[in-house]
């Protein structure tokens, strides 16, 4: 069966133009295949969030009809949304993948990490992540980071060399020329790879809609017990809220990002379908991170500082 060429962009002078989603998809697939061709032991960071779900979808398309030649790694903060963990496990099962889990809770229980006074666990992910990379000897680690997310990320390369301590040095990055990605690294070093570098939040949602990709339910409007902290709606739960004079209420909300419950805020929303979510994001006057991430607000260079230490 032969289909006519799909997604041809009509209305341009050029007969062979690609739509922006096709161009982004083609570029991301190229990046996945480059890594598969050049590295010994790559891994895909998979959190069950929309960016990692899109990454997995692209990887499945890139190597079809063969299986994805990578394993997955999840850094479990111990405070993840149960719906997201369930999604993660379903995806692993469905595609017959292998999942490694690096657990923040295990590090805390073993006394190797200490809980922060504010209970925010996002920054605690760095140590379990980097130790898992070293222990399991991954030489390429795919992340769903996008340059539109944050100004330090805007400076990130598609192939980002990390030293044996997983550190990022923004002043010593390799220039990235054409589509010629240089993944050379010494033993002990590894490369972080960002196939979605050039995607925006809206691109991700449009692609999810076009491809009919299933997401965890928390991305769509639903009623939930939440409380207010630092100007954000946080999910009530055993992880540490509400406290003191904070009180819960039931609101119609959805999540724009998925992360640790201690620092991922929900937004008020009535968007229950993909189309409604896309309309809402297109009209939003807040960035994804500005709306929902407490840890980025800690200081002006919070993201850069965490990235330097080995975070994504």
């Amino acid at each position: 069966m032969t289909a006519t060429v799909a997604h041809v962009h009509e209305g341009t002078d050029a007969p062979y133009a690609l739509s922006h989603l096709d161009a982004l998809e083609s570029e991301a697939v190229h990046i996945f295949r480059e890594v598969a061709g050049e590295f010994e032991k790559p891994v895909v960071l998979f959190s069950g969030g929309k960016d990692s779900i899109v990454m997995l979808h692209l990887a499945l398309k890139a190597f079809a009809p063969a299986p994805v030649p990578f394993t997955l790694l999840h850094v479990d903060t111990g405070h993840n949304f149960p719906e997201v963990l369930a999604y993660r496990d379903r995806a692993v099962e469905k595609h017959n993948l292998r999942l490694h889990v690096a657990s923040v809770q295990e590090y805390i229980d073993a006394g190797k990490l200490r809980e922060r006074p504010d209970g925010v666990r996002n920054p605690l992910q760095t140590v379990p992540l980097t130790e898992a990379i070293q222990r399991l000897r991954f030489d390429a680690v795919f992340g769903g980071g996008r340059r539109d997310e944050e100004k330090a990320r805007a400076k990130e390369r598609v192939f980002s060399l990390r030293d044996e301590f997983s550190q990022w040095d923004p002043r010593r990055q390799r220039p990235e020329l054409w589509q010629l990605y240089n993944g050379r690294h010494a033993p002990g070093e590894h490369v972080r790879v960002f196939p979605l570098s050039n995607w925006t939040e809206l691109d991700v949602w449009q692609y999810i809609a076009r491809e009919g990709i299933e997401l965890p339910e928390i991305y769509f409007a639903h009623e939930r017990e939440v409380f207010r902290r630092n100007g954000m709606w946080l999910t009530a739960g055993e992880w540490g809220g509400p406290k003191g004079d904070e009180s819960t209420e039931t609101r119609l909300i959805r999540y724009r990002t998925v992360g640790d419950m201690s620092c991922t805020g929900a937004v008020d929303s009535e968007a229950t379908t993909l189309d409604a979510v896309i309309t809402e994001i297109a009209a939003s006057r807040l960035t994804e991170r500005g709306a929902t991430r407490a840890d980025d607000k800690m200081s002006e260079a919070a993201m850069e500082d965490r990235k330097r230490e080995g975070y994504f």
């Binding site: 739509s19 922006h20 398309k61 063969a66 400076k155």
Partner: protein, 446 residues
């Protein structure tokens, strides 16, 4: 009144334009970028609030838009842009990826990086100063990298009384210079980034100008050329062999079409081996198609079971490139460590990385006046020069002038993996005598 579904359709049918900006420190590049982002409503409230807060903390009256783009601690501390950053914005007609390149000391390698993937470059000029050395450098880099479209944005028109004569003089001088270098298309636009003239909105102050605003031009410039005219090139990235019960015999060659169009039924040659076959099927990420074109990522199936692996190049037999082990090219040196004659390096071309040795460095180019300096012995950071490289294995290399994708390569330091140089195979204006050249190397004609 459009329904949600129609709006979605509108949004998804847009094309993507990659462009780079070039400008020196004080000619208003940050202001132009800031205004494009701001007026296209791509700066969101929380970002603007963050900028306002930091600006106020520093005692500034107005928000410093450069803070939006200077993402690193060191950049904010020093008030300069150190590195290329990528920005994203959109209109209803198109999505944009902007390579925001700093205009500072490391200009050449930074602009080369930004321009390597750009469909268009915006060169900024201060209307009061006209075409200066830096402008000529920017034009030369755009020409060397063969950026298909160049926009000359003559900025600060408000400071020259919005005078047509001032604009026309600069536009004429720049166009003559850039055309000489081989820039195929130049569009000159008089603007004031600060006042907003002709950036997003047409200017009421310059009735004499009948052309597009910067944004209008970005929205309408064609992004792909007629690719049927270019010969097809398919560097093999990865061989897909599921060897599963469902697909026991599937053998597909995965890759991104570097140029041209590929069709089912087309006779092809595999390089460097020279073996031939016919395209039996094209799998375009999940659907079988009859035809595919650059830059689509696809998987090819061939009629014959021949030995093909990563690094090979599949091309139509009728227009297959020649292979060579002697590469003559113009390079931009991008590393801090120098590149000297005799250096043993790795050469990365498409999906193939081979050992190579630098046989000669016939000349180094000074971008300021395009003068040539013969036999410099080595190239240092930001130098542009001609090199002759001998490779350990044959490469199917096109001239960069014919294909940016299959005519480009990297030179890499095998010891530590550093990217040393960005290479462009074949002739360029840097291989011609412009001013001071002594042609004395045997077998090398300028």
């Amino acid at each position: 009144m459009t329904s949600t579904t129609e709006q979605f359709a509108d949004l998804s049918a847009t094309t993507l334009l990659r462009f780079a900006t070039a400008g020196s420190v004080d000619d208003g590049k940050s202001t132009l970028v800031g205004r494009l982002l701001h007026d296209s409503k791509s700066i969101l409230t929380d970002q603007l609030e963050a900028v306002e807060a930091v600006s106020a903390q520093r005692g500034q009256d107005t928000p410093d838009l450069a803070l939006l783009t200077d993402g690193l601690r060191a950049e904010r501390e020093q008030g300069i842009t150190i590195d290329v950053a990528y920005r994203y914005f959109a209109t209803t007609r198109r999505r944009f990826i902007l390579a925001d390149t700093p205009g500072h000391v490391q200009y050449t390698r930074n602009m080369v990086t930004g321009a390597s993937t750009a469909d268009l470059a915006v060169v900024l000029v201060d209307a009061r100063n006209g075409v200066i050395e830096q402008t000529r450098r920017h034009a030369a880099v755009a020409a060397l990298l063969r950026v298909p479209h160049v926009v000359l944005a003559v900025n600060k028109m408000d400071l020259v009384g919005y005078e047509e004569k001032a604009f026309a003089r600069i536009a004429e001088e720049f166009t003559a210079y850039a055309s000489d270098l081989g820039v195929p298309e130049i569009t000159a636009i008089p603007i004031s980034a600060l006042a907003g003239d002709n950036v997003v909105e047409p200017s009421a102050n310059m009735d004499w100008y009948g052309g597009p605003t910067v944004l209008e031009h970005l929205e309408t410039v064609p992004v792909s050329h007629d690719l049927t005219a270019c010969p097809a090139r398919f560097p093999v990235q990865y061989v897909i062999r599921p060897q599963s019960a469902e697909h026991p015999d599937y053998r597909g060659y995965a890759g991104q079409i570097a140029s041209g169009v590929l069709r089912v039924g087309e006779p092809v040659t595999v390089l460097p081996s020279g073996r031939t076959s016919v395209i039996e099927g094209i799998d375009a990420l999940g659907e079988s198609v009859d035809i595919a074109w650059a830059p689509q990522s696809v998987t090819l199936r061939l009629r014959d079971d021949i030995d093909i692996s990563r690094g090979d190049l599949i091309a139509p037999s009728a227009s297959a490139p020649a292979t060579t082990q002697d590469v003559e090219a113009t390079v931009c040196h991008v590393a801090d460590q120098p590149l000297a004659v005799g250096a043993r390096v790795l050469l990365k071309h498409t999906t193939r990385t081979v050992k190579a040795i630098v046989k000669e460095i016939p000349s180094r180019l000074t971008l300021d006046d395009l003068s040539q300096h013969p036999n410099p012995g080595q190239l240092v950071a930001n130098d542009i020069g001609r090199v002759v490289v001998r490779t350990a294995e044959p490469l199917a290399l096109d001239a960069y002038a014919a294909s940016r994708r299959t005519g480009s390569f990297l030179l890499i330091d095998p010891a530590d993996g550093t990217t040393l140089a960005a290479g462009m195979a074949g002739e360029s204006f840097a291989s011609q005598a412009h001013t001071t050249v002594q042609a004395d190397e045997e077998g090398w004609d300028f």
